[in-house]
């Protein structure tokens, strides 16, 4: 991912953010950062009961949640949101977590969040992740057990020697080519920039 460009413009003047964290001071700090970014509407919750009630009835443009809230119930909250089938099931989610127990790393990966950010949450890091969300081109994946953004940032096919686990994975060997190979001239023509007059 590219470095942050300080001259880029961002417009969050119509955005709403749902902020869920067990620590009221953490909520205050993140809310202040978001206010600085120009976010006008911030819904704050320090318990999951109220946050889930909100998510069942309303939506926001972004969910920022500390998954360690209530002994790690935040991971399940994100997973349930993704599996809910509701309109807000695909909303961008950023997990913000301080010290993470080793046992919870897989939970974070499998929750369906777009990005994981570690605290202390510097404003520049949060803003960079917001820009990542805006530029994210990954598709959403629904494979039953996991719903969320594709966890692969690049896809190089199934591991060597395996047939893959997905019905869509191509079987190897692929078989013979059914067209002649491209000539070098044809390859060059594809790579060479062309001036187009529209």
């Amino acid at each position: 991912m590219a470095e942050i460009d300080f001259d880029t413009r961002i417009n969050l003047s119509k955005a709403s953010v749902l902020l869920v964290d067990g620590s009221s001071h953490s909520i205050d700090v993140i809310a202040q950062v978001l206010k600085g970014f120009g976010v006008p509407t911030i819904h704050r919750f320090s318990n999951l009961k109220d946050a889930n009630k909100f998510l069942a009835q309303r939506t926001a443009d972004l969910l920022i949640i500390d998954p360690t809230i209530e002994n790690g119930a935040g991971y399940a909250c994100v997973s349930e949101l993704r599996h809910s089938g509701r309109q807000n099931a695909t909303m961008p989610v950023i997990l913000v977590s301080g010290h993470v127990r080793k046992a919870n790393v897989a939970l974070a990966r499998d929750s369906g969040a777009n990005f994981v950010v570690t605290k202390p949450l510097a404003p520049v890091v949060l803003l960079q992740r917001l820009l990542w969300v805006a530029r994210d081109t990954r598709p959403f994946v629904d494979c039953g057990s996991y719903v969320g953004p594709d966890r692969r940032f690049k896809f190089e096919g199934p591991p060597a020697g395996s047939e893959g686990r997905r019905a869509e994975d191509l079987k190897s060997p692929l078989g013979d080519a059914n067209e002649p190979n491209l000539s070098q001239d044809e390859v060059n023509a594809m790579l060479k920039p062309q001036r187009v007059i529209i």
Partner: protein, 152 residues
């Protein structure tokens, strides 16, 4: 064989962020820093209260998680306020309290971390980067010594 569905949901935030107007990233970051500064004193007060709460716990198995949560909050909040050494000590305490088998947590080691955090919050130490480094070095020395004793 797992059936996988790929799709591209409409993400409103993406559209909003690209709308004309808005502010420069540099200005957004500057405003965020000013906004954090406006609640700095409240946060420092809360951090001191959390250090006191960790210190006040009586050693008991069920207390470990409460202290872990408090140390984790100090780690995050001190870090965002620029108190790097205090954040480091709190992180070390989290590591200590999240070790497998809570019964093995050394109360002496917890006490050393609490003392280090208190020292780092004292006006004299917090104002001097040299003293802050000394506190960190001393903490690491003591923690290593206690870990050595504990494993014997």
């Amino acid at each position: 064989m797992t059936r996988v569905r790929f799709f591209y949901p409409d993400v409103r935030l993406k559209r909003l962020m690209r709308e004309p107007g808005g502010i420069r990233v540099a200005d957004a970051l500057e405003r965020a820093d000013v906004a954090i500064d406006s609640i700095r004193d409240d946060c420092l007060f809360a951090i001191d209260a959390k250090i006191a709460a960790i210190a006040a716990f009586k050693p008991a198995g069920s207390d470990v998680d409460s202290r872990y949560v408090l140390a984790n909050e100090i780690f995050a909040e001190a870090g965002v306020l620029g108190l790097a050494e205090l954040s480091d000590v709190a992180h070390n305490l989290c590591e200590l309290l999240s070790l497998e088998g809570h019964a093995a947590v050394s109360e002496q080691a917890v006490g050393v971390h609490v003392d280090a955090m208190r020292a780092l919050r004292s006006p004299a130490v917090s104002a001097s980067s040299k003293l802050r480094r000394v506190v960190l070095l001393e903490l690491h020395r003591l923690a290593a010594h206690l870990a050595g004793n504990h494993s014997r």
